[in-house]
């Protein structure tokens, strides 16, 4: 069963609704004692990365997330938390993936936030993208992006710059887009994660 880290960073109604739609059982991780009830973990997140990191630290869950070995999926800001650093609030983050989260502004000539449906190019061997064809569209809403990296980026997206639409390192996965709002392909990502 999937445990959703309930650390107060954004609204999780849409996420739980999507899990319910595709028939994936889930529960809430409100405190450390809840952590052992679940065999995989989702870290949601909307809003400010620096503020989200502080809230996550307050739960006391950080060491459990890092050490458990369970599949972990970070969504949007939840994925950014997996990186080393964010320019949003100049925040030190979990540093599970040694990459930086950077601001779009001043780096691109396009509108910020990057909002809407964009196509992605997933790596063929990433199990999270099983059954997802190249150039499938996903729904993005974000002003900060994770730099693209040959080793850790598992799906690429372009918005003037090429950035990480998804990450993978060992049991850690992250998606910048919102699978819960990305139609059928988004639901497939959630199903794939539930079957890792």
């Amino acid at each position: 069963m999937i445990g959703i880290v309930n650390y107060g960073a954004g609204n999780i109604f849409s996420l739980t609704a999507a899990l319910h739609r595709v028939g994936i059982a889930y529960g809430m991780i409100d405190k450390v004692a809840d952590f052992d009830l679940y065999d995989r973990i989702i870290i949601p997140g909307v809003g400010h990365a620096g503020a989200a990191m502080l809230k996550l630290q307050e739960t006391g869950l950080v060491q459990h997330i890092i050490a458990s070995g369970k599949p972990v999926l970070g969504i949007c800001v939840g994925m950014q938390l997996l990186t080393a650093f964010s320019e949003e609030g100049s925040a030190e983050l979990l540093n599970i993936v040694p990459l930086k989260t950077l601001h779009f502004e001043k780096r691109i000539g396009k509108k910020v936030p990057h909002m809407g449906w964009n196509s992605i190019v997933p790596k063929k061997d990433c199990p999270l993208f099983k059954g997802i064809s190249e150039n499938s569209y996903f729904y993005f809403v974000h002003s900060y992006f994770i730099e693209a990296d040959e080793q850790y980026t598992s799906a690429f997206c372009t918005y003037d710059v090429v950035f990480s639409a998804a990450l993978q390192k060992d049991n850690f996965y992250g998606v910048q887009f919102h699978p819960e709002k990305s139609g059928k392909p988004g639901e497939q990502i959630l199903l794939n994660f539930s079957q890792l």
């Binding site: 109604f13 809407g116 709002k181």
Partner: protein
């Protein structure tokens, strides 16, 4: 490439769709959730629900509607109408709305935009603007185009962006209902002055109008109601037309 978005708009009152709907295979054309599901299946990129419920008591049905949509629909949606303070928006957020749209309330109390953006993030805040030309200049109108203000549309849109709007939904009241096409000149002019997404509204009558608004005004999204509801434009065909014209769509 970031795709241009096609957004059907549904008017709802007391939890029911009000404008006529002419889909062949709908069991209940007045059920906004079923209509929303149809649109999501057809390839709509997003949905806007405009709540015209008159009384405060009936707002509860709107909240229930938002919850039902969030449960069953897998694309983003915005709800507008009746949002006058932070609390109204917060209830909708927790009911599962991805964005809220504010119109007259923002004009009456511009600081509401700042408060909403600070509390929920600017991606949550769509500022809807109704505009009409008077003596060659565009002015902001309130109450669905009935009440004129002295605010120039371009000034208001810029102010809304500065205060924290995440998107602008611009409706030309001169074009709305005419089916003669969007106000591409105004939309291009506004689009050049802001750095947040712009949704075009008012005037869609045929597929070519969508091609025109994306090519001429380079807006991020185009919204329409009746042409979709009456089946005059089918979204899969519209997307094919846009693709043929070199416009990136999902």
């Amino acid at each position: 490439m970031l795709a241009k978005r096609i957004i059907p708009c549904l008017d709802v009152k007391d939890g029911r769709t009000v404008k006529g709907v002419n889909f062949v295979d709908l069991r209940d054309a007045g059920d906004p959730v079923e209509l929303a599901w149809q649109y999501s299946q057809q390839g709509a990129d997003e949905l806007v629900f405009l709540d015209i419920t008159a009384t405060h008591e009936k707002r509860k049905t709107t909240i229930e509607l938002v919850k039902a949509v969030a449960k069953q629909i897998n694309i983003p949606f915005t709800i507008g109408g009746g949002i006058n303070e932070l609390k109204d928006a917060e209830i909708l957020l927790h009911a599962g709305a991805d964005k809220i749209s504010i119109n007259s309330a923002a004009v009456r109390n511009p600081a509401l935009i700042d408060e909403l953006a600070r509390s929920f993030g600017r991606q949550f805040v769509v500022v809807a603007v109704d505009t009409r030309v008077v003596d060659g200049e565009n002015f902001v109108y309130l109450r669905g185009g009935r009440d004129k203000t002295d605010i120039r549309t371009e000034d208001w849109v810029k102010e809304a962006e500065q205060r924290g709007a995440g998107e602008i939904l611009l409706t030309s009241m001169d074009h709305d209902g005419t089916k003669n096409g969007f106000d591409n000149t105004l939309l291009r002019q506004i689009n050049e002055t802001i750095n947040i997404p712009l949704i075009a509204s008012g005037g869609a009558g045929k597929q070519a109008h969508f091609v025109d608004v994306f090519q001429q005004a380079n807006v991020d999204a185009a919204l329409a109601a009746s042409v979709f509801h009456y089946g005059e434009i089918l979204i899969p065909e519209l997307k094919e037309t846009l693709r043929t014209n070199g416009i990136v769509v999902r």
